[in-house]
Each structure stands twice: as C-alpha cells, then as structure tokens.
Subunit: 231 residues, 4 copies
C-alpha cells in the first residue's frame, strides 16, 4: 500500500500526522457529499436555491478530497510515481461516489482509539467489503434513478425499484424485471456490476474461510459431551 513508508522516515511522520488531522474533516466531507447528492436526487420538489446550495456543498466536498490527495502526494515526496503506486486513492478522487468508503477508515480508527477488541481478520474483510458494497449499491441506485426516472420505456420508475435493482445486481442474481435502459444508466450499472462482483466475491470468500476456520477451532475446544457453541 504505502511503499513510501519504508523509504523516507521524516516525510512519513508528517504524512501520517496529516492523515490523522484530516480524518474528521474528510469524514464530514464524505457524509456531506453523499447526503447532499441523495437529497438532491430524491427531493424533487425542492426550490432552485436549495438545489444550488446542495450542489455547492457536493462540489466543495469533492474539492476537499482533491486537496487532500494533492497534499498527500506532496508530503510523500515521490513525484509522478505516486499516482501509479496509489491507484485506489486516485480512483476515489476521480469517482466521487466511492468516497464514502472512507467511513470504514474512520470506524476502524475509532475502534482502535477506544482500545476495543479488534475484529478477526475475516470479520474485518467482510465488514469492509460488505459496507463498500452497500455504499456502492446506494450511490449506484441514486445515480441510476436520476438517469432513468424520466426515460421513455424505463422499468426503474421509483427509488424503491432502483434499490431493488441494485440489490439484485450486486448479488449477480439479475432478475431483469427492472433494468436500466438509458446509456448513462447502463454505464453506471456496469461499474456497479464489476465492483459488486469483486466486493461480494471478497465477502463470500472470507465468509467461507471464516466458517471453515470456525469449524476447525471448534474441534479442539469442545468440552466432552457438549454441543458446539456456534449456532
């Protein structure tokens, strides 16, 4: 993830200190970004002034992420190689809808600070990938709904349809009773399919590994004559 960490120790501490300071503002920005976008799409009867204000907040949040990325780049002292080595960070800046994934980062950091018991490895992967899938699905449902609701011949007519479509897409079930018909809606759908496949594949794989691990551990720990502790 961070090859720079091993290279320059002085830069590193300033980079880490920047990251720590930016956590709360970026968390607020990501919530504002998704929230304003959602309100703008869903509250159709909103007066024009409010809509403009929401748009302004959305763009401001976006700008904050861009600034954060540029500062991190500068502090890393890596020059042009930084972009290639941190593809995920760049992706987050380009695709603003992925931003809220940073919420997981905060969650993890808060748990850490409060010295809570860490989740097991598989549980953390499931939590990260699962929450990412939920956020991806919510953002995708919003965007597709915004594209489709006015389209002629559209099968996605309410936000409920859109959420239902997002669920059946992310799980690769794909009933097809509702599906996007506009080019823009289909592009968003394709990004969601690819992302959902990867994220839910990670959830499924980790769940499977965790289940096998649980069954293996249980074998050793069981008092004689008793039943297994897992459900």
């Amino acid at each position: 993830m961070d090859e720079a960490v091993d290279e320059e120790l002085g830069e590193e501490s300033r980079l880490w200190s920047w990251r720590r300071r930016m956590e709360v503002p970026l968390f607020a920005a990501s919530v504002a970004f998704l929230g304003c976008y959602a309100v703008r799409v869903l509250a159709e009867g909103l007066p024009e002034g409010w809509r403009d204000a929401l748009l302004a907040v959305t763009y401001a949040s976006w700008a904050l992420f861009l600034v954060d990325y540029l500062v991190q780049w500068r502090l890393s002292g890596q020059g042009p190689g930084y972009v290639r080595r941190h593809p995920l960070d760049a992706l987050v800046v380009l695709l603003p809808l992925l931003r809220p994934l940073r919420i997981m980062r905060i969650y993890e950091s808060v748990r850490h600070r409060h010295a809570h018991a860490r989740l097991s490895l598989y549980a953390r992967v499931i939590a990260y990938a699962g929450m990412s899938a939920v956020l991806l699905g919510f953002a995708g449902a919003l965007t597709v709904y915004a594209e489709e609701r006015g389209a002629p011949g559209a099968t996605i007519r309410t936000f409920g349809d859109s959420v239902w479509w997002a669920c059946s897409t992310l799980t690769t079930v794909g009933y097809g009773d509702v599906a996007p018909v506009t080019p823009k809606g289909r592009v968003v759908a394709t990004v969601m399919m690819a992302g959902g496949l990867a994220l839910l594949g990670a959830v499924t794989g980790s769940f499977s590994s965790w289940l096998i691990q649980s069954f293996t551990l249980e074998e050793d720990r069981r008092p004689p004559g008793s039943s297994p502790g897992a459900f």
Copy 2:
C-alpha cells in the same frame, strides 16, 4: 465463538450444562415455530380458532428462544459485551425464521453422542451451510408467498412458484420469470439473496477444496495399475 469459555471456568460449566439441558426443548421449539408458520401460511381455509392457536404456538416458541438467550447472557457473566461478542445468537433471536438452523446443532450433537464417525471438515461445512440455505430458502419462500399472493400484478401466485423463485434466487441464477413485486416481498428477497450468496459460496468453496483434496489423496493411495476409487 465463545471467548467466555476461556475466561471463567465456574460460569462455563453452568453455561454448558444449561445448553445441554435446553437442546431438546429448543429443538422442539424450532420445529414448532417453522411448522406452525408454514401451516398458517399454506392452509388458507383454516378456521379462525386454529389460526390463532398456530400463532400462539409460534410466539411461544419465539419466547422460549428469547428466554434461552437471556439466560445464556446472564450465565456468561459478561454484561453488555455479550451481545457484541455473540452476534449470530442475537441475530437468531431477532430473525425468528433463522431459528431452525439450530436443528443442525442437535444433529451434530446426536451424532457425537452415538460415537458415529465424524464427517470430514469440508463435509461438515457443506452440510451446515447447505442445510442453512435450504431452511433459509424454505422460510423465505413461505414469507414471500404470504406477501405476494394477494398483490396486484404478482408473478408469484402459488407456493410452487415461490419455491421455484427461491431456488433460482439462492443459486444466483435469477431467471426473473417470477419475482416479488411488493416492497415487503422484496425486502425478504434481499435478505435471502445476501444470505444465499454467503451460504452457497461457502458450500461451493468447500466442495471445491474437498475435490482438490480428494484428487491429491488419491494420487498417493492408488495400487499400481488400478483406476481411481472416486467416480
């Protein structure tokens, strides 16, 4: 699964003894829960008195699980941390339809008591996850059928349609020839999709691992000139 086990030995033995004593009652309760719910949904011409009796049995079974959970919490001596550490148990109490999964626990325990040969690790994961998926599918098909049968424009009109829909959903095939149209039906469907994806992913993964293991073992064990034992 049970961190408490390693912490307090005195509490532990009382907890284990409670669990052993509750096995048969909870097994009966889980069968009663699912059975009464199924009869109530499927036997439409039942007189009102019978329907009320079935409902009463369903709630009584639910209450028994709640009592069991509270007693286990108390005996564990862990305070508020217990809920966070035993998420599956809490989930079972909240989502009564998952209860019958406890049947697996009994089955395993009976096999153990009779000193039968244990199944291999992968076979057990496949059996647990596969039976969980079947129960989830059956309960989901019941609930969706109860929601959909009266809805205008519904494609799920008989219980057979609902079972067919559940099969195509759990395997993520998702033909879409029948699919829920009511909001409640779609929420149940989403839970089923997520659960089915995880459970059948575990089945698939374990089957795959077991197959590779079988092929590896066969290599070493084969008498010269003979064909493999597996088909």
Copy 3:
C-alpha cells in the same frame, strides 16, 4: 473415499480386481444409457418397437450399475456402513443421469495405462468437474426438453432452446428468456442449478488457483530479457 482400503487387505485386492474387470462393461453401459435416452427423447417419429428397445437397453444399463454397486458392497465386507461411507456411488445408482460421469474414470485409467504424462492437479479437477458439468447439462437439457415440449405456455420449445437454457443455468447467468414452466421440469432445473453451482465453482476455483500458480512459477523460470511463456 475408500476407508476399506486401509482395513482389509485380502478383500481389497478382490475389490480392485473387480473394479478393473468392470471398467469396460460399465463404460459401454454408461454410453448406452445416455445414448438410448437421448435418441428416445430426440427422435420423435420413431416407431413404437424401436422406442421399446431403447427403453429396454436403458433399463439394462441401469441394472448393470446396480449389480456393480451390490457386488462392490459385498466385496468391501463392510455391511450397512458401506452406503453411508460411499454416498457418491449410491447417488450414481439412484440418479441414472449422473452415470456417464464414469467416463472420466475410464479416460483417466486409459491415460494411466499408456503411461502418458499425468495432468497437473488443477487441470484434472477442471477436466473432471468441467466434463461432469457438460454431461449434467446435456442430460438435464434432454430431460427438461422431454417435460416441457408439450406443456402449454412453455418457452422451451426446441432442443436448441433447452441446450441454451442449460448453458445459461449452469453458468448461473440465468437470462430467463427461456425457462421451465412445468413442476417436473423445475425440479430437474433445481438439481441442475445446485449441481452446476458446485461443479463450476470447482472449475472456477481450480482455474484461479492454476493461474496464480502459473504466474508464480513463471517468475522463477524466465530467462533474462525474455517475455513470459504463457499466452
């Protein structure tokens, strides 16, 4: 697979010798079974006498598999425990459509006898599971076609439709443009979905492992300055 192998050496050699002698007859029987079934379903204009002859051959092949299973049971000297320990063999006897999977056994055996280089572990799992999936799909397409072709409102009207449906089902794509509508057809479809999910999961998993292994090996073997050997 064969716990008996480790237990009784005298019985074992007779069991292996029986298996070796039965290879060619069982291969012929499995081909006859599937071939006669296919001709019976697809050649609709066949005179009654021919149809009866095909049915007789089908049942005779089935009987041969049953005899083989009983003899193996007897020779194993294991009593009632045999059925439980060899679930796959029993499944093959109960579900005659799975019989042709024995073709893989012959193929492997022939390769072995001719001292050909063995396939790698992953390649063998892919070959076994992939061929099983193809046979399952072919047999399933035949059976579903036989059930659906006369049904009112059926979308599967030609054998081509049925094969197309089988392909989209086994890969869990599930377009739903053609799908079974009769109860019997749907039961067969459910068996195919479950089997296809497990078998193609094994193919996918092995392919993935093989790919990762190939990339790992390539790293070490590459002469300086040259490109990778894989495509």
Copy 4:
C-alpha cells in the same frame, strides 16, 4: 507451461529468440485483426472494396499467428506432443478472437524491459484476467451484434445493446432484457459465458486474496495511533 525449457537447452535459446523477435509483429497483427474486424462489423455503410481490404488484413493477421505457431512447434523439437502440452497456444490459433490477449504479453514485456517495479502477483493475475475478460467481451459483443442485428425478433438491435448484454453476461448477472436469439449468436454467448465465468472467477478470487493479504500486512506495519493507509 513450457516443459521444453527444461529439456533441450540449445533449442530453447532459439525458441526464446524467435519469440522475442516476433513480439512486435504479433502485437501489430493482433491489433490489426481486432481493429479490422470491428470496423467491418460496425461501419455498415462502407464500400465493398474497403470491406474486402479489411477482410484481407484480418485473414493475413490470422495467417501470421498460424505461421508463428508452426515455427514455435518446429523449434521446440517436440513433435506431436507439442499440441497437447500447449493447449492455450493452439486455442488462440483456432479462436482468432482470443488473439488480442497477446497484448498483455507485450505490456508485461515492455514493463520488464523498462525495469519498472513489477506488479504484485495478485495485481498481475487481476490485470491479465481482467483485460482478457474485457477483450473477450468486446470481441463477443461484436460477433453477437453481427449475427443478431438482422434477425427477426432480436432484442440486440444496436452495438450498445450488445455491449450491455456482454457486460451483464460476463458478470453472470444476466438480466435477460436483451439476449441472443439466433443459434450462432447463442453459441458465441455460451463460449463467452464459460470464458467469463473462469476469468472473472480468477479476478474475484485474486482480489479477495489480495484484500486479505493487505489487511494482514497492515496489521504489522501501522505506526501506533494512526489509521490504516488503505481506504
């Protein structure tokens, strides 16, 4: 992949030298092959002369790959066993649409020559399998579009429909709102489904492994009090 490498060192160096020299011509040929095919399918109003020229280039590229295969076979000094031991190379010759996968080979080689940092193992598997899936999907969308656009009752009517169908097929979502109806289109679709399942299974599996690895590494590397580096 290349058992010959370990067998004959003299042949080997000539084989490697041939491969190195053929890299640029084969790259150009693969681009020409796919490009000309795409233009021929998509530019419907093209004059006949241009169409013939495009076809000629397509066949010439194909011929170059065939020549390359035969020369490699000859240089390997392995006789008839070569075909069996290099199934992927033969597949590429038979199925010309898979040719562009060689682009990955060049890309890897160029990166190597420029002494860039190598991607991690999982990243490389994801890149290879992902790009293969994209190329397979693009070529499949072209071929299916060419077959379907004139067919009566076709749901794939524009190239956009075809690309949308290819995306929903490769991810196994399979909405079924658009699907091939001609026999040829369905054969191409089946090849795409099988290939997509295997390739995206490899992408998903590697992504999952990479995610678990990232979480494991992060554990050890984190400075006290700081948040994780990955988002």
